[in-house]
């Protein structure tokens, strides 16, 4: 580009924005090492005692495991159903394909609060109690449209030829799908799963409305916070941040950053 704003204002703007973006993260991590009782200045010297407290809090570690379970199972269900629907519509376009697409994607446009409340009322009327299973059902509702949309958008025309070739060579429906399409589509399938997991892992309102005694991590953190500001939440938040970053890096290295294979 020939025109340039001088480097100093550009640098200042970027620095200011990054400061704003990072301020809460830095404060969160900084005060997780607080040895005093409050996560506010002054810092009384570094200490790991709040990490010890967070990790020995059985309700907290239990909710962490609940979150992983709900996330893994609901994401797997959403990915499988999303993939099957995408491949089904791709393989045979029924006259109603557009209507089916709109139906499957429509939950994206509705607030989580409404999805959660609707399920809560239906379960209530049907006499089904609130539980982690109910939370998982809710998380599939919000993740299925994303999985379907991501995978459907990646099923291009080049795959139609491969698909037909496999069938012409005598592969049945199931063999074509499991041995040809699934391997080729694996990166977007994994990406869908990881995105679903991240959203489920972080989802709060559906989990709050549909769970009772066993809760997920965000709901547990919310309960801890009700007692007021405590460095224990900082420690737990820092641990969650680290786990999420590691998951994201693994997901990215499996999909986006994967070395390109020669076609």
């Amino acid at each position: 580009m020939t025109f340039r704003i001088s480097a100093i204002p550009v640098g200042l703007l970027i620095a200011a924005m990054l400061c704003f973006i990072y301020l809460p993260v830095v404060v969160l991590i900084l005060f997780s090492f607080q040895s005093g009782d409050l996560p506010v200045p002054p810092i009384d010297g570094p200490s790991l005692k709040w990490y010890v407290k967070a990790l020995s809090n059985d309700r907290l570690t239990g909710s962490l495991i609940n979150s992983i379970l709900v996330g893994a199972v609901s994401s797997a269900a959403a990915t499988v159903m999303g993939f099957l629907a995408a491949y089904g519509l791709f393989r045979r376009r029924p006259a109603s394909a557009d209507a089916i697409r709109v139906l499957l994607i429509s939950p994206i446009a509705v607030s989580y609060l409404i999805v959660g409340l609707g399920l809560m009322i239906v379960f209530n009327l049907a006499g089904i109690g609130r539980s982690l299973v109910a939370v998982g059902i809710g998380h599939v509702v919000i993740n299925l449209p994303l999985c379907f949309a991501i995978i459907y958008s990646q099923l291009g025309d080049h795959l139609r030829n491969i698909d037909n070739a496999a069938r012409d060579l005598g592969a049945g429906d199931f063999a074509t799908m499991s041995r040809i399409i699934v391997p080729v589509m694996l990166p977007s399938v994994i990406a869908s799963f990881c995105l679903s997991f991240t959203l489920s892992w972080d989802e709060f309102i559906i989990a709050l409305l549909l769970s009772r005694f066993e809760v997920t991590l965000p709901v547990m953190i919310f309960e801890l916070m009700r007692a007021g500001l405590t460095p224990e939440v900082n420690a737990a938040g820092t641990i969650i941040f680290c786990i999420s970053i590691i998951t994201a890096v693994v997901a990215a290295s499996l999909t986006i950053l994967r070395p390109e294979r020669k076609p």
Partner: protein
């Protein structure tokens, strides 16, 4: 080769269709019905009245919640666009490609702090004895702590922080698609740097701004946790009012009615924006 006229592929979409019908469409339909019911001490009764609708618009605090929500959402959307646009613009046009990637990566990282924890972290920054007030007191700029926590400003701050991250990404993705030859042409024809920005780049980035602003609006207006943690109970927004109906009085009919109102609001805004959104490309 003779292919079977019907293959199994036709049935593959059914699990997803049935699931969406059972756990998304049915609950919405039930909510529409329940919004015409009444809650009595004996439980929900299917009375089929418009009482809830009348009640909502005759209770000042519920109307205030609706108006508060609209105001906070509009302020959030405007501030987020105003803050994110210059950032995305500078990144796209005035930073070398290597640094673009680095800064974007740095800007995305805080996305992975948990959503609930993010609001809590802001509370640590802005509370009366938090880091911001401590710093300002220390510099002597203020004599007593500024009250930010548990106000509307805190809610807006929490929202804007999140959406600046999101909008920077969507706006950046939009800006880098603008062909450099347009800018070159404008410049060769004598346009100043500002008129290139004002008359070429800005108009071309309207679709990106529309998508980002719409996303911001939809997510903000339906969010419960940010106003609940940062705004406290000084001012109630619509999602908080809905939660109060559920948690305090188990009044599902009223909560359903208010949720439908929230949905209508989102649909109305979608109607306003849909020319720019190109959702059908999905």
């Amino acid at each position: 080769m003779n292919r079977k006229p019907v293959d199994a592929a036709q049935w593959l979409a059914w699990p997803a269709i049935l699931y969406t019908l059972a756990f998304f469409v049915l609950p919405l339909a039930v909510m529409v019905c329940v919004s015409f019911w009444v809650r009595r001490s004996s439980g929900l009764e299917a009375d089929w009245t418009i009482d809830n609708y009348v009640k909502f618009f005759s209770r000042p605090y519920l109307i205030t919640a609706l108006l508060n929500s609209i105001e906070v959402t509009l302020i959030t959307t405007a501030l987020s666009v105003v803050l994110a646009y210059p950032f995305a613009y500078v990144l796209a046009f005035h930073v070398s490609p290597k640094w673009q990637k680095l800064v974007l990566l740095a800007a995305v990282l805080p996305f992975w702090t948990s959503y609930v924890v993010r609001s809590y972290s802001w509370l640590l920054v802005i509370s009366d004895n938090g880091i911001l007030n401590s710093f300002l007191l220390w510099t002597g700029l203020i004599a007593t702590p500024i009250k930010i926590a548990y106000t509307r400003a805190a809610t807006v701050l929490g929202f804007v922080h999140f959406f600046v991250l999101l909008l920077t990404l969507t706006l950046y993705a939009n800006l880098v698609q603008i062909s450099p030859s347009y800018l070159k042409a404008a410049e060769d024809l004598g346009a100043s740097r500002w008129s290139v920005l004002w008359r070429i780049i800005l108009p071309l980035s309207i679709p990106g701004i529309a998508v980002g602003a719409f996303l911001t609006f939809v997510i903000t207006i339906g969010d419960y946790i940010t106003p609940q943690i940062l705004g406290g109970n000084t001012e109630v927004l619509l999602p908080q009012a809905i939660m109060l109906q559920i948690v305090r009085s188990a009044n599902f009919p009223m909560a359903s009615m208010m949720s439908l109102l929230l949905m209508l609001l989102i649909l109305a805004v979608y109607g306003l924006f849909h020319r720019h959104l190109k959702m059908d490309r999905l």
